[in-house]
Subunit: 68 residues, 2 copies
Amino acid sequence: MSELPLAAIERIIRKGSGLRVSDDAAKELAQYLEDDGVRISQQAALFSKHAGRKTVNIDDIKLVLKNK
Amino acid sequence: MSELPLAAIERIIRKGSGLRVSDDAAKELAQYLEDDGVRISQQAALFSKHAGRKTVNIDDIKLVLKNK
């Protein structure tokens, strides 16, 4: 956990809500977005390997998001 | 856009995939996660206001994620 900086997450919440943001709200959203990013990347890796690559590229990510 | 640092997103993709990551893959995932964060925050703001608050708190975020 804790890859995403809370200051950035707070800006995202302020942008979306137009309101102030509590610290624990930012932490909760950061954790969710990071976990979701890991899940997406796990699926993307299956597509990378299926295509015979050792690098995750944009098409792998797009393919996961298309089916989300 | 561009709130989330690409270095952090690359670490998340490496964590999830165990593979290398192209720059455009990281940018694609960063954009998705940021857009999703904004959407979640828009919904959370409705719950904050419904509860008579001017601050988004952790319960607002949890309520959005529960119904996602």
